[in-house]
């Protein structure tokens, strides 16, 4: 009296057994019937851009990390290892598509051209959000795990209602898939066939918890239970991510509804600058993933196709050094807001109650400063 428990399968999913990829760690190009079609236009110049993008993003991350260690920022969640997942996803979108990130997607802000001071301000404790969401078409980074997936879905519902062909991208981690909100987002997205792409960066950990705590089966399978097709791709293969998100975005744009993309990757660094990953994972695991580094891999691929790797590396280095200097300058530039700004923007029109508190705060400050 038992039913067998087969290996989970679903026709709604691609890449369940092994994540789909087109570049292996040595940088050779593999055929992928599914992915190839959508990256036919990727030539040396596109590859170079992706390489530079990833390098720049990594450098921003490194600089911010270092600044935090030096005390210039209060906290930093590093993205190292996830450059391909983030760059590939963003480069698959149109400028008008709206992105709803979590706190680790610095690449999205950098590539969407946000002012670096805005990117860093949150992590200096100087602001609760950085860039202008409408200028960058990028919502503020979200700290409440999973909340933004509903926002992306609602955005997409509204886009569909208005007959727009813009779409929404929801970014979240492996841990987030356990939150009710992320699951409700899939319910709404499926029900309203909302043009939203769910990008799950499975970096193997939610702080200290390995992904197995969240799920005993691949995360991409989750989406199929909601009737949402899923693509599981090698998240350290920028072309695979680019292809998958392009496919998903195109489905969304043409009325096909939501798609779930699981980018299987690894967080090379600590969860944040206050974390101590030595407590929960061993060096061998980290070393194994280092060998799959997304940037090295693309560099090897460029070499294989005979691209001028030295020149490209040099170009990237120049861009990296430039942005590194910008990052440091930006961090310096960020000033703490005026204390009184805490009374601003709570409501459209200040309430009498808050105006009274503002006045009291002002008087108190003046009294402490011995002014007047």
């Amino acid at each position: 009296m038992s039913i067998s428990l087969p290996v989970p399968r679903s026709e709604l999913i691609e890449g369940l057994d092994a994540p789909l990829g087109v570049l292996d760690p040595e940088g050779s190009r593999r055929a992928s019937p599914l992915l190839d079609e959508s990256i036919g236009d990727v030539d040396e110049s596109v590859l170079t851009d992706l390489y530079v993008d990833m390098s720049v993003v990594r450098r921003v991350d490194e600089e911010a990390f270092a600044l935090t260690r030096q005390g210039a920022l209060v906290l930093w969640p590093p993205l190292r290892g996830q450059e391909a997942a983030q760059v590939g996803a963003l480069r698959a979108l149109r400028d008008e598509d709206f992105v709803f990130p979590s706190y680790r997607e610095h690449a999205l802000a950098v590539l969407r051209g946000a002012d670096l001071a805005d990117v860093l301000a949150v992590w200096k404790g100087a602001a609760l959000s950085g860039w202008d969401p409408f200028a960058q078409r990028l919502a503020p980074s979200q700290i409440i795990i999973g909340a933004q997936t509903l926002h992306a879905t609602g955005y997409a519902m509204a886009a569909r209602r208005d007959g727009g062909d813009d779409i929404a991208l929801a970014c979240f981690g492996d841990g987030a898939t356990s939150e009710g909100d992320v699951n409700e987002a899939m319910v709404f997205a499926a029900s309203f066939r909302a043009p939203v792409v769910f990008l799950c960066q499975n970096n193997q950990y939610a702080i200290s918890e390995p992904v197995g705590v969240q799920s005993r089966t691949p995360l991409a399978l989750r989406a199929t239970g909601f009737g949402i097709p899923a693509l599981r791709v090698d998240g350290n293969d920028v072309l695979a991510v680019l292809a998958a998100v392009r496919i998903a975005a195109e489905r969304a744009r043409t009325g096909g509804g939501p798609t779930f993309v699981e980018a299987v990757t690894y967080r090379m660094g600590p969860h944040t600058t206050t974390d101590d990953p030595g407590r929960y994972r061993d060096d061998a695991e980290v070393a194994a993933w280092r060998a799959k580094d997304p940037i090295d891999r693309l560099e090897r691929h460029l070499a294989r196709i005979g691209a001028p790797v030295d020149r490209i590396r040099e170009e990237a280095a120049i861009r990296c050094d430039a942005i590194a200097a910008q990052v440091r300058a930006a961090a310096d530039r960020i000033a703490a807001p005026a204390p009184e700004s805490m009374f601003d923007h709570v409501y459209v029109e200040p309430t009498r109650r808050l105006e009274r508190q503002r006045a009291q705060h002002r008087a108190f400050t003046a009294s402490v400063e011995g002014l007047r």
């Binding site: 709206f98 709803f100 602001a127 609760l128 959000s129 202008d132 969401p133 409408f134 919502a139 503020p140 409440i144 909340a147 997936t149 509903l150 926002h151 992306a152 879905t153 609602g154 955005y155 997409a156 519902m157 509204a158 886009a159 209602r161 208005d162 929404a168 009710g180 909100d181 409700e184 987002a185 319910v187 709404f188 029900s191 700004s341 601003d344 923007h345 709570v346 409501y347 459209v348 309430t351 009498r352 109650r353 808050l354």
Partner: protein
Amino acid sequence: MTAETLTLGRAVGRALSDALETDPAVVLIGEDIGRLGGVFRVTDGLQARFGADRVIDSPLAESGIIGAAVGMAYRGARPVVEIQFDGFVLPALDQLIAQVARIRFRTRGRVRMPLTIRLPYGGGIGSVEHHGESPEAYFAHTPGLRVVTAADPQEAYSTLRAAIASDDPVLFLEPKARYWTKGEVDVAIARDLESARLLTRGRDVTLAVYGPLVQTALEAATAALDEGIEIEVVDLRSISPLDVDAVVASVERTGRLVVAHEAPAEASVASELITSVVERAFAALEAPPERVTGYDTPYPPSAIESHYLPGLDRILDAVDRTLGRRSSHELLEGSAP
């Protein structure tokens, strides 16, 4: 623009329909609001008239409803959400507190959140658990949200229109026990979202109430007059922020304050109003203010809800106390209170 006689429920429906008509950005979303017209029939006919993409039957998930409405607002919509009953707003508290209330502040004014959340609340309808509660204090304690209610059809119409027009997120609490109360509605009458109104004038006691208890307070004022006691009834209307100025002005005339609501007393709107008045009109107070509220217990079975809810007699009992008249407290055994 002549007035029409409507029930409070129909006035709400009328406000929704007028808002949908006036502003194409307005979208309604909630459970059963479409085909069924809502469990109270407030949205009756709106889906047929404005279409299923403007009057949206949502999946059964309150956090999802609020979170999706946030996303819609990002794309320029002005969502009006219905949460079916007071008790069912709880799964949405995270989205309401950490998102809806704060996104404007978080983005230094760049992202508006012009959501209206409609929430039937309050007891006295003889139903089952979670259908008679008054959760307003959770929202009053949450900066960035406006919390308003209405006591009659005109108020319901005008307040809801103002809520929908506001770029702040507004929680509009609908006193469900008063859905069938009838009254004149003039759609031309506008109101703001922050001022109380004085309903009666009197020299003895200020009685501050809102929503379902406004009617009770007016009856109390009438009854008190028989004994020569003049009560100023203040309909607070806005629960957060409170119009403390109006209450202080009244207390400066009367010297006495009674605050009544159905929600429990502890860390409540009544606690807030009394504290605010004490801070600003201490010298004017001739007696300690009184609160008449639900007790600090979960909402009881409806068979005994009338004992839990503040009624005419409990309010008058408190009024008597502020005036130093004989009240039930003389029957208290032992030392309490």
